[in-house]
């Protein structure tokens, strides 16, 4: 194995030195193996019978937490390798196109590394998504929703035992907060030929409708529920519909706060916990967003941002002297501080102005400070080292400022959610939806980082090779 690795290392070093410097033969296999191992945990975790959902979720959350340190370690080790082998001396000697490809590789690699902790979650979700027949469940759930009320009803509790009696007398249900509601839970109507039920759905969605059904329909609902529920670990203790309805009608449906445990008013499920978990599991998979972690775009946007920032910083580190990188970071940190102080002063002076005006002033200040950084970076009157420090700051700022401008513009003009009487000077003219704005902002960040790196990569190369600039 070692000999094989050495052979690859040797081959890459001599034939593809750029790839060797980037350590593709080290990092890609490591990442691939980790992806496989962690990914397999998600794929191999047995789903038959369905495990308890919260334990299942916790297992993969713990896997993610466990992977945080190795992930940080991988990032650090990768950065160290780049500083060692891809330092300015090597990096700036590469043809410019290759230098730029290195940046794209950084993005790819950092994204691969930083998403490692999530691999188990993703594969677990994919497996659940494939294994569980969600379409069938949705169909079954519609039927089971109707029948569920006959098999399981939790007792509700009220503030005072006297209220129970009063509620019982009036046929009212009084909830824990004292608001009266005219919901009868499970009652026969006055003519005793129909059943009034307050639907308590199997999948935790509640209906505010009081449902009145004929007894025959109630019996059919019970039969349908029995026919389907066993597929979801919902085996029942009673199967006779008439017997079930009669028993339910006799059951005390109210509960006082003095009773410590919440118990079902009636339950004819042999293992309600297993059934509940099964339904819950299906629901979590269907709803995606509330599965193990957010699977939504917003979540990944954060990852992309971290990846871009890491990639930009590393490509700068490879392109300049370490000392100048330090100075550049100092400028990156101090510039917004100065901006913040000035913005606070301006905000104090213009405290009477409306939100839109304040945003306009903010945009102006942001542009002013960015222009200031560019002025230092490109003005030949300043010392080259100072110029390069500001160039580093401009390199980092450019994509972020571009995004901030979009966000500030959007926030300044985004008053559509307000009632028209509160809009004042805002006309609610938003050419894009909020989602589109978010997407535009993200794309601006990506494209801005790429353009900024392309432009400033040339800047650094020229600065360090041309003595007339130095």
């Amino acid at each position: 194995m070692k000999a094989y690795f050495k052979k690859i290392d040797y081959h890459l070093l001599q034939k593809y030195p750029n790839l060797w410097v980037l350590g593709v033969h080290i990092y890609l296999p490591i990442i691939l193996v980790l992806y496989l191992v962690i990914g397999l945990t998600g794929l191999l975790y047995p789903l038959d019978p369905l495990p308890e959902f919260y334990r299942y979720r916790d297992f993969f959350q713990n896997t993610s937490v466990t992977m945080i340190l190795p992930t940080i370690l991988l990032v650090v080790v990768f950065i160290i390798r780049q500083v060692k082998f891809n330092s300015k001396r090597v990096h700036l000697s590469l043809p410019y196109k290759q230098q730029f490809l290195v940046f794209l590789y950084f993005i790819f690699l950092f994204l691969s590394i930083t998403t490692l902790p999530l691999v188990g979650n993703i594969t677990a979700y994919i497996k659940s998504d494939i294994v569980l027949d969600q379409e069938q469940f949705s169909e079954d759930a519609k039927v089971m929703r109707r029948g569920f009320v006959h098999f399981f009803l939790e007792k509700s509790y009220v503030d005072d035992p006297e209220d129970c009696a009063e509620a019982e007398a009036n046929g009212f249900y009084i909830d824990a907060y004292g608001d009266q509601r005219s919901y009868k839970r499970y009652e026969l109507n006055n003519t005793k030929d129909s059943l009034i039920v307050y639907r308590h759905f199997v999948d935790y969605s509640y209906s505010n409708d009081l449902d009145t059904i004929s007894l025959d329909q109630a019996y059919r609902e019970i039969d349908s529920f029995i026919a389907l529920s066993h597929k979801y670990q919902g085996d029942v203790t009673h199967v006779d519909p008439v017997q079930i309805v009669n028993a339910n009608l006799k059951t005390d449906r109210y509960y006082t706060k003095f009773e410590k445990n919440v118990r079902p008013a009636f339950s004819y499920l042999q293992d309600y916990g297993a059934f509940d978990n099964n339904i819950n599991f299906h629901n979590k998979v269907i709803s995606k967003g509330s599965f193990f972690f957010s699977l939504e775009w917003d979540f990944w946007r954060g990852y992309l941002f971290i990846t871009l920032v890491l990639s930009v910083l590393l490509i700068i580190l490879c392109s300049v002297n370490i000392a100048e990188f330090g100075w550049g970071m100092l400028v990156v940190a101090l510039h917004p501080t100065v901006f913040g102080i000035v913005a606070a002063l301006v905000a104090f002076l213009f405290r009477e102005v409306d939100g839109e005006m304040a945003a306009t002033i903010g945009i102006f200040l942001l542009l002013l400070f960015t222009a200031n950084a560019y002025f230092f970076a490109f003005n030949k009157r300043f010392k080259p080292a100072l110029r390069r420090a500001f160039a580093i700051a401009c390199h980092v700022y450019t994509p972020i400022v571009a995004c901030l401008l979009i966000v500030m513009y959007k926030e300044a003009s985004d008053c559509c959610y307000l009632d028209s009487t509160y809009r004042e000077n805002c006309d609610c003219i938003l050419p894009f939806t909020r989602e589109q704005y978010n997407l535009i902002t993200l794309n601006t960040l990506i494209i801005g980082s790429i353009i900024s790196t392309y432009v400033f990569g040339k800047y650094y190369k020229k600065q360090y090779t041309n003595p007339q600039i130095k």
Binding site: K15, P17, W20, K84, F85, P467, Q468, I469
Partner: protein, 303 residues
Amino acid sequence: MIFTANNIVKQYPRSKFKLHVPNVTLSEGAIVGVVGENGNGKTTLLNIIAGELEANGSLNYFGEDVAQDTNWSALKSKIAFIPQRIPRWYGSLIQNLKLKAALDGIPAEESDTYLDEILSFLGLMDYKHLKWTEISTGYRLRFELARMLIGKPNLLVLDEPLANLDINTQQKFLSDLKNILQDKSYETAVILSSQQLHEIETVSDHMIFLRNGESVFSGAVNELEADHEQFVFEVQVEAEDKDRLLTFLKTNNLSYGETGEYLQVSFDKSATSNDFLTVLIKEGFTIKYYRNISKSTKRLFNQ
């Protein structure tokens, strides 16, 4: 011609230091030595020649004048600059050399042989699998030289390469340089600075002596003697003889200067080095050190 420059001027306004070198010429196969006291502009001059520092004056590399549109990136691929402080190498030495070879476009199938040739040439074969921290300063310098030679540079610029090297390593390194220039596969010129006057003068075809930024001498070492009307000798006698020797020099109206325990004695060319030595012996001085520096830039240090 590898490099020519006329009227190089570099001024540092804050320190008021000004470098002024009227002429520098580096031809293929030649070694040019730059000497002078510390802070007199040697490193500045070498940085200018290596393209690391801007200066006024006309510079010409490989037959092309430097202009605003000069492609410095391409130009610098032909220049190898070894600064005083060599950046540390990471990984094994051979790894670094292979990386440089690959980046310089040496085909993989030729790389091993090519590198072995360079390493054998510099006597470094036994050390190639070591790491930077496992070799001495002298070997680091020679490995850096090996790395620079991979791209077959046309101009080698070495800033104080002999500093921190013992006398044997200095000799070995200078001999390496000579060998490189004799090897016809390297169409190279070398310019180096050093404080080791004797060693550098031995290998250099041309010397530049800088004093306070001014080039006070530029030419072949032999020209130094022709330029001056007196011979200069460096003498050290036993400590108890020193006062007697000073009295002797004053009595005979010989001009002299003192550099620590050494005396630099000048007299006109009517007498030879042997004549002076004979007189000293006859006078009963116990001579610890005696050297004719008439043809050495060393005579310029105390002027």
